[in-house]
């Protein structure tokens, strides 16, 4: 268990501009995560812009075998963001889609100009914790969240983005927060996109096993950098009156004494 008390106020990063890609399901299902990203990044001095033209990165289609559909969404993303200085995305699996699958999709279905545009854009795409720690060089964002919290390291964050210590670094600097480790932390929660309905029973068995480990921490909140895993875990917690809630890491980092995290249902 790590209990951190810190009084360092958050630094401000001048003249940093970033474009927010909120992702389709955060826009639709978890707007509070998006609002927190805005609060958080503006607080550390980032000037954010948001294109209302954005829709989806194409991951759901790509992972379900609908490659040409995934390609058209991926192409759309590149066209929308090719001029962005920096793109920040509060979802590690969507960033993993771009790093891991876009090159193959564009190789197979794209043309040279699209491949070049994407190659130029790719190094400017950041998952939220990468953006904070690597791009801004910040781990103390001045957050206050007086709760016992378990961090779920999502598969794509761990194994495709290699986020490593970044989320833990950020959590360690949140005042009042007590971080508790989840046993078998790197084991999948069983979501897997359409896997959760195509193989609903196996997915549920994986979820049951994960939930046992998460609940065993006796934390109040389970946090992650992916609302997809959290939707899965949170859906089961709600069904089972488990007495634990899920919350995106952005919401914890946005939370301060003056403006605590929004209470969502």
């Amino acid at each position: 268990m790590i209990r951190v008390r810190s009084t360092i106020s958050c630094p401000s990063v001048p003249n940093m501009r970033a474009s927010l890609f909120i992702t389709c399901y955060n826009d639709t299902l978890f707007p509070e995560t998006g609002r927190s990203v805005v609060t958080l990044l503006e607080r550390v001095g980032v000037e954010l812009d948001f294109s209302p033209q954005q829709t989806c990165c194409g991951q759901m289609h790509a992972n379900s075998g609908f490659r040409s559909e995934a390609f058209s969404q991926a192409k759309r993303f590149v066209h929308l963001y090719r001029d962005a200085e920096t793109v920040v995305i509060p979802s590690s699996s969507c960033v993993a889609m771009m790093r891991d699958q876009y090159p193959g999709l564009f190789e197979e279905l794209g043309n040279d100009s699209l491949r070049k545009e994407f190659a130029a854009l790719l190094p400017r795409i950041y998952e939220l914790s990468e953006f904070l720690v690597d791009r801004l060089g910040v781990d103390d964002v001045g957050a206050y969240f007086p709760h016992r919290v378990a961090y779920h390291a999502s598969c794509h964050g761990v194994r495709l983005l290699h986020l490593g210590e970044r989320p833990y670094q950020l959590l360690a600097k949140v005042r009042g927060l007590e971080l508790v480790p989840i046993p078998n932390a790197e084991r999948c929660c069983g979501f897997g996109g359409t896997f959760s309905v195509k193989n609903a029973e196996v997915s549920s068995a994986m979820l049951a096993a994960k939930l046992q480990d998460v609940i065993s921490t006796r934390a109040e909140y389970c946090t992650a950098l992916d609302n997809s895993c959290l939707m899965h875990l949170g859906g089961a917690m709600h069904r089972q009156y488990a007495g634990m809630r899920t919350i995106h890491l952005a919401q914890i980092l946005a939370s301060t004494e003056g403006a605590p995290a929004e209470e969502t249902r």
């Binding site: 812009d49 209302p52 992972n63 194994r159 084991r187 996109g193 193989n199 068995a205 089961a236 249902r265």
Partner: protein, 486 residues
């Protein structure tokens, strides 16, 4: 409980039920799930410890991967080299295009030997071609000599793992099988007593049956040698006592040089059983007068492999050295064990290998039997990017299925097509969000949560709630905030 009390699982992809359906009896079987989880926890802990002590583990993986890829890119030449060297050393090489031809070759060889019984070293390839039933039908009794395979054969069970095939059977179940089939009423479930019972049973077979069948871990092109690694020494008994030996091996088992074993044996033992070195490594080259089998045959099996080799994105599947680290690491396999995969090759490697061996005409549910968590790729000692191949195969399955008329109304296909239409423009997407809010509103309870949905949605809500759609999407909030956007 008698492990055979449940219906015997079908491990033939031609007849096995789809994965989600085949998984159900296992998910409801607490003993099976406990046995599987316990066994893989033990293996995984041993593997993790031995991988951690190896400071050059990633370099070893890179080397092993490079060796295997080089073989696949030059397979034809190496196979010919192997055939020439093995023949020169006194072996006879046979080529089998498919399972039926391999069975026929082996049966003919056994008839030449006048064999009515044959002892077998553990070989998954023989299970792939369903050799034992074919032998029995031809009046030849096969006797497995690997401890786990004996348990399965006597218990009339099916393998659920490629390295530890009886992993789903626990000690007391083994006792029951041995007591029943060996006529040992007072047998205890003490591992020493169980091993002694197997030893007595086996010794008689070793001393009386002069014909043996093996698989191969490696075929060495440079020398024409065959290599088998094992833990018990029963394989070595089969390699030394009989007069005739028939080795069945997939064509991809080639290694170019003898010295490549240096890398491969290190990664295989650590990945497979969590050992620095496996207890018995047997290598033999052709026939040695006066020592070991005097008649030696190698049956090189294609059975779909060359068609996998022909596809550059899928070729990496054949790098596999059958260590099973992927299934030990897999969170899906952890819940379902091996039988749900409907093939002798379960787990992540089975999910990509089986449908390809079937020329993508059967087992199409397998590429979807993964949450794409990537744990398999992380542990694979020859760096097979299993998630990448899974995605490739999913795309092929969808390309096949989407043309079928029945799929037009399939909610999953319909949903993904509609979603693609909506994602093509922000206007459509925002319209869909508003419609979703209204539509899901009917299913949303007073607490703001959805507890039950129809159709595909019901697959989610059977075990999970879903938060109702919020009244304001993020982009609506952003617009209301009056920020300028670019």
């Amino acid at each position: 409980m008698n492990p055979t009390a449940e219906a015997r699982p079908v491990l033939d992809p031609l007849f096995a039920p789809p994965f989600p359906q085949a998984a159900l009896p296992v998910l409801r079987n607490p003993q099976l799930r406990k046995n599987v989880a316990h066994a893989i926890d033990v293996i995984q802990a041993k593997r993790a410890k031995l991988v951690a002590e190896k400071t050059d583990w990633q370099e070893l993986r890179t080397a092993a991967s490079a060796i295997r890829m080089h073989v696949l890119e030059n397979l034809g030449a190496y196979l010919e080299q192997f055939e020439a060297r093995c023949t020169a050393a006194g072996g006879v090489v046979h080529w089998a295009a498919d399972a039926a031809e391999a069975r026929r070759i082996i049966l003919d060889l056994l008839r030449q030997e006048n064999a009515s019984e044959v002892i077998k070293i553990k070989t998954m390839t023989s299970a792939e071609i369903q050799l034992n039933p074919a032998l029995e039908e031809a009046g030849i009794s096969p006797f497995e000599t690997d401890l786990a395979e004996i348990i399965l054969q006597l218990g009339e069970e099916e393998p659920s793992h490629i390295v530890v095939p009886a992993l789903h059977v626990n000690r007391s179940q083994v006792r029951e099988i041995f007591a029943r089939r060996m006529g040992l009423k007072n047998l205890s479930d003490n591992p020493k007593d169980l091993t002694n019972a197997a030893r007595t049973f086996l010794r008689q077979k070793f001393l009386t049956i002069p014909t043996a069948i093996s698989g191969a871990n490696f075929l060495i092109a440079e020398t024409g040698s065959v290599g088998v690694v094992e833990s018990e020494g029963n394989g070595r008994m089969c390699l030394t006592l009989p007069r005739a030996m028939i080795t069945l091996a997939g064509i991809e088992k080639i290694l170019p040089r003898f010295q490549d074993l240096e890398v491969m044996l290190q990664v295989l033992a650590r990945s497979a059983t969590g050992e620095r070195m496996n207890p018995y490594t047997s290598l033999w080259t052709g026939v040695t007068p006066g020592d070991g089998p005097q008649r030696f045959h190698v049956v090189l099996l294609d059975n779909g492999r060359s068609s996998i080799l022909a596809k550059p994105k899928q070729r990496q599947t054949l790098k596999c050295i059958r260590c099973a680290a992927c299934m030990n690491a897999c969170p899906v396999y952890r819940q379902t064990g091996g039988h749900a995969y409907g093939s002798v090759y379960p787990g992540p490697i089975g999910a990509i290998l089986t449908p390809q061996l079937m020329h993508m005409k059967h087992a199409q549910s397998l590429p979807f039997a993964s949450s794409l968590c990537g744990a398999c790729y992380e542990v694979c000692p020859v760096k097979i990017n299993i998630p990448e191949v899974l995605l490739e195969l999913r795309a092929q399955v969808v390309d096949q299925e989407r043309k079928q008329t029945g799929r037009i109304s399939d909610p999953m296909y319909l949903g993904l097509r509609i979603a693609n239409f909506f994602f093509a423009s922000a206007g459509r997407f925002h319209f869909a969000q508003r419609m979703g809010r209204i539509g899901l509103g009917f299913f949303t309870g007073k607490d703001g949560w959805i507890h039950s949905l129809p159709s595909v949605g019901g697959k989610w809500t059977q075990t999970r709630d879903l938060r109702g759609l919020p009244q304001q999407s993020f982009h609506e909030w952003w617009a209301a905030r009056g920020k300028e956007t670019k």
